[in-house]
Amino acid sequence: MRKRRTNDERLALQLAMILWAHEHQPVTVAEVAAHFGLDPDDAYSELYPLQGIEVAVNDEFHNLGVVVEDDGEIFFDMNPLFGRPRQLERGEAMGLLAAANAALRLPGTDVDSLKTAVSKLGNALGIGSSLSVEITDPEHLKVVERATRDRERIRIEYYARWTDEVSIRTVEPYETINVEGNWYLRAHCLLRDDHRTFRIDRIENVELTGEICLRTDPGNQPFTGGDEAPVARIEVPAHARWMIEPLPVQIVEDDERLVIDLPVSSTVFLESLLLRLGPDARIVGDDSFRDVASDVAQRLLVRYKES
């Protein structure tokens, strides 16, 4: 069954499919469908009508040269007009080059082939690589990537900032993902017997266990916080705006004063934020967080008296 697509989506898919099929012929519709992640009937219904594309120019007939046999095999009689990769728009060219350059520094890529591909792309596109993507490569990323790829359990020593505790856990990796510049491991934690997300630069130590993961990925879930967490409403001094930019906060006022709502799953993070924001910030609204800043400041002052 053909999926609903806009005209330009349909045309783009057909162009991509005939280009790939042309380069890989002899090829079947089922193989094209598998390559493009489509249902075979969907691929067939997009390719089949292309057989009838024919125009006359000065009494000479031109057709696309696509023949889809009843058994699903596709042939190309000729394709001088279309059988090559198409030009890229600026954003596409820039995005592909930047992605390829960034991936060069990450584990799991075929570095030699990628280097020559990047070089060919840069030359063909005629644009410079003046877009730099810095993706951090924390100490344990390589082992975590390998465990994720091989579906192998790992034992990690992990510092959880939200609880301010170090723990040792065995986890079954689902996915290793970089969001907003930080690497996270999404995994099933055997210690908590639940789905958890771990920041990879807070993994103190990691060991491969040799044991195979038993669970299947239930899909992405929110990283932290969530709808159930109580919310602290904070008035933030204007000069400290940069501190809240990377946080998952909701801005509730941003004219004469900056007021945010921050979900608080643990007061550990709130303490740290209020210390950083300083005396010009203040909790407004819920009284339950009103003393958090002064309490942590007094605890710290005691340490300064002792040292």
Partner: protein
């Protein structure tokens, strides 16, 4: 005629015609459009737009001479408008596909590019995936750097004119590095308060292009004046390994597992942010002026109930 079929035939016709063709010739020689009236012309314009959105540019040229067609437009799709001269080996193609699956812009530029290069879906998702934001200004900024164009925009409530040299992404944010009145500066793209206006090609001076680490130190504590003061900070055992791994600078190890690290303090705000990120797991030991600054900050907080 079905729209998809018509667009394909238009594409075939313009590719197969030896020379550019006019709208009148298209109507006369094909069955693509009913007549040369405004409604058909509108359909043709929409078809052109769909082709353009698939990356197929239609070349236009003005008809010369003095007959009734003069001043009109002829259309063609030339090789240069359509094809990318790119000969990737199978391994190179796969490596690019893998790279674009690992590093993804939220505008999906790289995936659109791969579709045009004939790539499909990878057989299995990659073990790593990095998601990058793609702010609207990015294409314009890259364009400006690549073509040495001056740019102007509002930032911090002030109109800026900048000669950009580099656009870079770090820790979840995009920055443009460039020169304002000859002084090197970094601007965070999220904080732009207007669209970016680009000047003409080569309107920017030929500055040396820095790498991103030269443009802006990777260590936020080093942002600020060139010279700072060295502070000694005691970090508890629970965070000692992490701090040593991330920053180094350990000058003393204590029996309880805590460490003393030396930190170059150039911006008091950035230093306090780093220090208090560790809450009561870190204490400044010296010099006295930094200790006093931290204690004053804490006293003000402790009193501000």
């Amino acid at each position: 005629m079905d729209k998809n079929e018509r667009i394909w035939k238009l594409l075939m016709y313009l590719r197969a015609s030896a020379t550019p063709v006019s709208w009148a010739e298209m109507v006369r020689d094909t069955d693509l459009y009913l007549d040369d009236g405004p409604s058909s012309k509108k359909t043709f314009e929409r078809d052109k737009k769909d082709l353009r959105s698939c990356g197929i540019a239609i070349h236009t040229e003005t008809i010369g001479g003095s007959d009734e067609a003069a001043g009109g437009t002829r259309y063609a799709i030339r090789d240069a408008d359509l094809f990318l001269n790119l000969q990737l080996s199978a391994n190179e193609g796969l490596a690019l596909e893998m790279a674009a699956t690992i590093v993804q812009f939220d505008a999906a530029w790289e995936m659109d590019a791969l579709a045009k290069l004939g790539a499909g879906a990878l057989p299995s998702p990659p073990p790593l995936r990095a998601q990058l934001s793609a702010p609207e200004e990015l294409v314009s900024l890259h364009n400006a750097v690549d073509r040495r164009r001056r740019i102007s925009f509002m930032y911090g409530g002030v109109a800026r004119e900048v000669e950009p040299t580099l656009v870079f992404w770090r820790r979840g944010s995009w920055y443009v590095h460039g020169y304002q009145n000859g002084i090197a500066k970094n601007f965070k793209v999220d904080r732009f308060q207007s669209d970016v206006a680009e000047g003409p090609d080569n309107s920017s001076s030929n500055y040396e292009v820095p790498d991103s680490a030269e443009a802006m130190s990777k260590d936020p504590l080093l942002h600020g004046p060139d010279e700072g003061i060295i502070a000694r900070v005691l970090v508890d055992a629970v965070l000692a390994r992490q701090i040593e791994r991330d920053r180094g600078g350990v000058v003393e190890r204590r029996d309880d597992g805590s460490v003393v690290v030396e930190v170059d303090v150039r911006s008091p705000g950035a230093f306090r942010s780093w220090l208090f990120g560790m809450r009561d797991h870190a204490v400044v030991l010296s010099p006295p002026e930094v200790v006093e600054d931290v204690i004053s900050w804490l006293r003000a907080l402790a009193g501000a109930r």
